[in-house]
Symmetry: C2
Subunit: 405 residues, 2 copies
């Protein structure tokens, strides 16, 4: 049962997500706020390395996937022209129109790029999208960690030669470190196999966590890491890069970067003319981050027995404001003032819940700051302030609240 | 051929969109900027009437659609458990798992709401998403006007009674007017039939345009309008609301609002307990806007023989900066300064294009302001400024440029 994963349990109980089908979730308003923040952090850092945002369709026609022999991979959800309905009068698609729901978009973007790129002058170039992907997972599990429908940032880069790709690959890796750091995750750059998508080595960004499906060997000193799938390292071995010792760790892959060489450009006819007038296939890289998986990983590593402890930058709201002893104007005023100052506030003024229920919900939802207005605090012209990741609370004078946030 | 529609022709030639398959388009960086601006205008206005943003899946399981008898509608793309691949070894979905690619999300959201709403205290409530929809159009055409995969804003509202829905319906209509106005469209509030989704009357927002598939009867005086599908009015009839005359017009439906009554809430078990303790089905409304269709409509109504004339708020960039006579530092400086001042600039410093080609591209792409730096303008410490929707240009002193924008 995937609801046994901590991320699924806390995110469902906290009202962040709703499970529609196995491996298929809705993002409710709280969860959508978190996902949107992750999206904007990614945009920020990918734009900074020159990525241009675009948006490709989910329905990918057979003509795109056949040249790379990826049309019939098991990973796809297919829609066939011979049968578009499960019963009743079928309305056929036009002849030969078969689609797969895109699980990645190398082919589509390569085909598009071939219409616009013809000279070395137009290279390098990189483009990305934040878009829903579909994978026919035989066993969806672990909440948002392994789904059948999920949001992904997929970035693709196009280069004249391997050297130029290598330079961008490094820039992308740096951008990835920044992204994960801003999302509150310590990601480990890990040498890995390419999986079904490439026969070259690749790199993964792994976050150490017991729920992870991956196993890595991580040097505790220099943080060099290799995925178990490709390594000969064993727990306790000497690090191949320094005098440290490698340890076996369970981990979650939150991102990956691939050197794809000319696999897609050759298959789909994406070439350029170099400075000497020679026609060559474009060299490509691909770079993925699963947004829901980042969200789930943040929950897996930042929680306690009472709920989620969101990293500051991806918390649904910065402040969770609770009013006790019945609605009152002072609390409403605090709410309005914080909103005016562009502080993101979740306001709990429900009058059919006990103080205990409200505190429990605040801890479960996990905003960084909890504020409580009650008759007791108002008697001192104050408000109670508590950080989710600290035990103690303090009283802050109402007029000093804005300054203290 | 759908490329005959003006929007398809100009958007494809201008590099805004790419046609992947019939009725299925990619939004390239320029087009994605426009679509994102439309999305943000919609968010702004829908948030202002209390809509909470969320995000539901595209894969909608049969269990959601059967209770409303919408499972086997022709409009859907279906994925069957009995066949998930078109050839090769099929990997079956779990037994009974049939999906349709959502063309709207009444059922899914109603099912979700039924887990959270139980009392009149939780009503009214409204939620929306901006998400990719799929419709099995027999004949996709007119570029972005009628596609098989497209982005839609779908808002749903939940109420205790028809009166409360009517109030919100009116608020939503006002928000829609604002949205279309900000997008540079004059939308006509039109009485219409509900189509396949409801048996009640509905309202559409129609933009008069020759390419439109709809026909409306529009009073030239008070702007009262009815869709031909439901009206007995004829061209030249007296307006039923004032002393004006109605005219027959071709038009594009850019938005619609539906009173859905209890159709979905009864089928999917969404009820609430009222103040007297009685259990009642929730009353619902639904409100749609197709983002790509708004974009296409803006192009259909704002263009000339040279290209698109984007309305200010949804233009991909505010300024299109052209440098002639070879790259130069002054132009680079203008570009940097404008960017620093957060003016959105598209910079054309290509050195393998003629002045004529660059002007033609600027007119085709259609940003509101064109700036040209050349040896001639630099000799006067100036830059040439021309509005896309005006004929004349003027010289502006470089140091006064920022102030004059």
């Amino acid at each position: 049962m995937d609801e046994e994963a901590i991320n699924a349990k806390l995110l469902i109980r906290g009202g962040f997500i709703f499970k529609n089908s196995a491996g298929i979730y809705s993002f409710l308003p709280l969860g959508w706020r978190v996902l949107s923040k992750i999206a904007n952090i990614i945009r920020d850092e990918v734009n900074a390395i020159g990525g241009q945002e675009l948006f490709m369709p989910a329905l990918v026609e057979k003509k795109y996937m056949e040249p790379t022999e990826r049309w019939n991979l098991d990973v796809g959800f297919y829609i066939s022209s011979s049968r578009s309905k499960t019963s009743g009068s079928p309305r056929s698609l036009a002849s030969g129109e078969d689609f797969v729901l895109g699980w990645s978009h190398e082919e589509v973007l390569t085909a598009i790029a071939s219409k616009f790129i013809s000279s070395y002058k137009e290279l390098p170039f990189s483009a990305y999208q934040i878009q829903t992907k579909f994978r026919h997972e035989p066993r969806a599990k672990s909440g948002l960690l392994r789904g059948r429908e999920f949001m992904m940032k997929d970035l693709y880069s196009f280069h004249t030669d391997e050297q130029d790709l290598a330079k961008y690959y490094e820039e992308a890796a740096k951008a990835y470190y920044k992204i994960f750091e801003r999302c509150g995750l310590k990601a480990i750059y890990t040498l890995a196999a390419g999986g079904v998508f490439t026969d070259k080595f690749t790199h993964e960004f792994q976050v150490v966590a017991d729920v992870g499906e991956d196993t890595i060997y991580l040097c505790e000193k220099c943080e060099y890491a290799e995925n178990k799938e490709i390594t000969k390292l064993k727990d306790g071995d000497n690090c191949p890069k320094c005098e440290g010792i490698v340890k076996e760790k369970k981990s979650i892959e939150v991102g990956n970067i691939f050197d794809q060489g000319t696999k897609y450009s050759e298959a789909l006819g994406l070439s350029f003319v170099d400075e000497s007038g020679n026609k060559k296939p474009v060299i490509m890289g691909a770079y993925g981050i699963g947004l829901g998986r980042v969200m789930a990983t943040a929950v897996e590593v930042h929680n306690d027995e009472r709920g989620i402890i969101w990293p500051e930058n991806i918390a649904p709201f910065r402040v969770h404001l609770i009013v006790l002893d019945g609605k009152n104007k002072e609390a409403d005023k605090v709410y309005s003032e914080l909103k005016e100052k562009s502080v993101e506030v979740l306001y709990d003024d429900r009058d059919d819940k006990t103080a205990g229920e409200k505190f429990a919900d605040a801890d479960l939802i996990g905003c960084p700051i909890r504020l409580v207005v009650s008759n007791k605090t108002l008697a001192q012209d104050s408000i109670e302030l508590k950080y989710r990741n600290q035990k103690d609370f303090k009283l802050v004078k109402l007029k000093e609240l804005a300054a203290s946030l």
